[in-house]
Symmetry: D2
Subunit: 273 residues, 4 copies
């Protein structure tokens, strides 16, 4: 889940909505896994340009410290993620969101047969960036490929090039559909989201547009009553069912969320010539 | 899950059966909770009279060390438990099985409104035993009440008296149905099981009788092929569906498993006069 | 360590001073233990009356999330504690500071032969408060005894009565010197500290008075340059050696820190008649 | 610490000797770090060719499960390690000993400026082995380089070549003294140890020869009384001071421990021509 808008208490976002992210860690309805109990992480922006992250290997639903921190942190931009490991170890350095400078990155999905592709992918990461890779996930590798291809200057192009590389390496190793990706990334001001998979059947991704509609959704969120029209949510699963309030990010597209701006564009891998 | 019989590799019991305990931690079908990810624990007997225990607060499905240990430990008697907390903190001292001397104790269920009853219950524990209570669960308290009432000499009577006390204290505090209990306890030689609740709708509990039938159930468990007729399982949920091979422990009864002996008796709380 | 004054970034307090609390977790010079690696905890006040707490069982020096949170939290009052267990389990519910409503409580020291005294002490806790005891430490029990005796209304008297009770119970059980205590407690506005032991040889406790002197101590703490004269530290060990800037809280006394007020008074147990 | 000999209860090795490995985690006298509280790990051989490993990120001295397991595991060969991180995250996948097939590997020391050298070193690992690297330590990288150079066939040569490569890469990046190494590795039958550093001032490494002498050292270890002449210890720090019983592995040498065989040879990096 990603939130952008007026500063809001993290607790309001994680614990209040009917089908909150904490609930989703127990009973995700739409994901490939029914339990996302392999870790939780949040990233948020405060006084500094660089965000802070809190990550834990314990399931979100029983993490006391997450609840404590959420009750005290007010932020205009939050990334929250619950993890179901696709094979790599459950450890803090493998929890999302990943951070680099001002940027956060999180991912729902996987790179197929990552073990086979990993060496070639990691070698394509800028050698100056390589030492900063801390964990062993496909997500972090994809992040660093995007950084290598200029994420900080032009996110859509960078991600398109990174995905093209993964598909190229994948095909070279006989993997038919290497990429399954819903990604959210941010520099603290704007949020870019991507929904694409090689096979064309990607995990769900939704965004909200009109906060007035979200307020109708969540009368119990008193805090939202004071929020302005800039409030935006991007979620893997809707926080509550309400026809019309949640718009699907179409498969094979990318989106930009910034203040009053909300754009969707087609996305396709950018193959090197 | 409890196992008694010829020494067997713990890995065979935890990871091999189709609906293994590890799977149950993800998708328990019959329990009140669909995910039991608040900890895991095993107790086993080796060279000594006192058993060893391994407990972890991480969900069973991602605990690497549990897998490692299971691959190396061979034991004639194993207790294994996956936890779904009914409110008390997730910490190692609140994981089952609990141990006292040669005895192990684990529990599926809860004592209603335990916070309200706790002080009176804990005060009824033998003052000499009281300092040994390490955690904060209702299960551990019930264990120490049973120990107070002579578990080490006459388990059925001790448990009957403990349950009677909980119901008495519960009623005194206006709790209609204080006890919901399926308990397994052992001294390393025999296993006693109890299935009882104040309301009469207790969580499931099954036992196996004829190992020949269990072998039919689990052709993939090669280790079982060498086992003799003493093999017994007691489980919350059947390891695999096979009509006739799993017998339900009737609600309101206790059972004894010892070598070739398997008995079921009615159980009711033993009120003090 | 306790801090009171203008809002300050927690990171400045925990990680900057030469002999910071994080360093002390590795190399405490004056304490009975040379390594305090059995857990860390902080409590801080923000928008609400009730403080938030972050606690971890990992040693302070390698806890990444503590660093992250510290970089983002600004607070006018901070309690920070590193733990060396005197026997009870290392678990989050046994880390300091303990919280009750608006109050925080932390402790350096121990109650002798606590296992022997525990039952009698716990029984003296107000039954209405008893269910809120989460862990198994002597510190938490002492806190709840103080709450029972009116900590929220008159802290010095409440602590004096609690200590008297512990000594009485201790003597009854043949323990000569039951109490070894340096305690800090706060309601978010004032901080009370206590330094007392039955034997008269209590762990160290220091306070700072004049912030101008502390600024001379810590030129590297730029943040302190902006702080007003209300800044107060209470520490187990001086953050840096500078004769005259750290005043010892005399053994057998209690102190009050509130804005510009700083008082020391004699402390002795208040025996019931 | 490494042990080889008749099967012994792990508890006897870890918790009994006066300056046991558990004590060393608190107060290492000879190491560069005074506290080794960033994790603990043991590897041991049982029924299978492949060893099992138990690893934890908690300090050795407060790890309850380690104590439990140690009380039940009997093994003829044990590797035990306590970690002081040289910068990489504290996580289970970064704890020693590392395992590959039948082999275990542990290391005291570091590769200087590892972040700078890492990419080149990792690229020299056999691509077929590369996906098996789980963590981010210099130790694991060195292990996989040794495996790449034929550790399983000729350990001394493999390690010599791996060290030569690290020095070459190091010098290329302007690192004067890239290697500081005391390594122990085993296939379950023999133990090879290496003590070498680029600068010539390596951490300590000792071995025992005559078990009769070790028995004189440790009268309190009753279990040792039954052990035969094959008992061998290799330790970073002597388990107890006793002149003559502990022999230093000279700096710049490698040793082989196998049953009644104990050899020391000079070690130097094997540069590719």
């Amino acid at each position: 889940m990603a939130y952008s808008g007026d500063p809001i208490l993290v607790e309001e976002l994680l614990y209040r909505p009917v089908h909150s992210l904490i609930d989703q860690s127990l009973h995700a309805k739409l994901g490939g896994f029914t339990t996302n109990g392999d870790g939780v992480g949040i990233g948020w922006y405060g006084d500094r340009a660089e965000p802070a992250v809190y990550k834990s290997t314990h399931p979100a639903w029983n993490d006391r410290d997450l609840r404590e921190i959420a009750s005290q942190i007010r932020t205009p931009l939050l990334f929250a993620h619950i993890r179901a490991s696709s094979g790599t170890p459950v450890q803090r350095s493998n929890c999302h969101p990943f951070r680099h400078g001002r940027w956060l990155w999180m991912h729902n999905g996987s790179l197929a047969e990552f073990g086979t592709l990993k060496r070639d992918l990691v070698m394509a990461v800028d050698p100056a960036l390589y030492p900063q890779i801390e964990g062993s996930t496909d997500t972090e590798t994809l992040f660093f490929l995007a950084l290598t291809f200029g994420l900080e200057d032009d996110p859509p192009t960078a991600v398109a090039r990174a995905v093209a590389l993964v598909e190229e390496v994948g095909h070279r190793h006989g993997v038919a559909y290497p990429v399954h990706m819903t990604v959210a990334t941010t520099d603290g001001e704007s949020i870019w989201v991507f929904r694409y998979s090689s096979e064309g059947e990607t995990s769900s991704l939704y965004y909200s547009t009109d906060v007035a509609q979200v307020r109708q959704l969540h009368p119990e969120l008193e805090a939202l009553q004071q929020l302005g029209p800039d409030t935006r949510f991007v979620v893997s699963e809707p926080l509550r069912e309400l026809p019309g309030a949640w718009h699907e990010v179409p498969d094979g597209s990318w989106g930009l969320v910034h203040r009053d701006k909300g754009e969707i564009h087609p996305f396709q891998p950018l193959v090197r010539v």
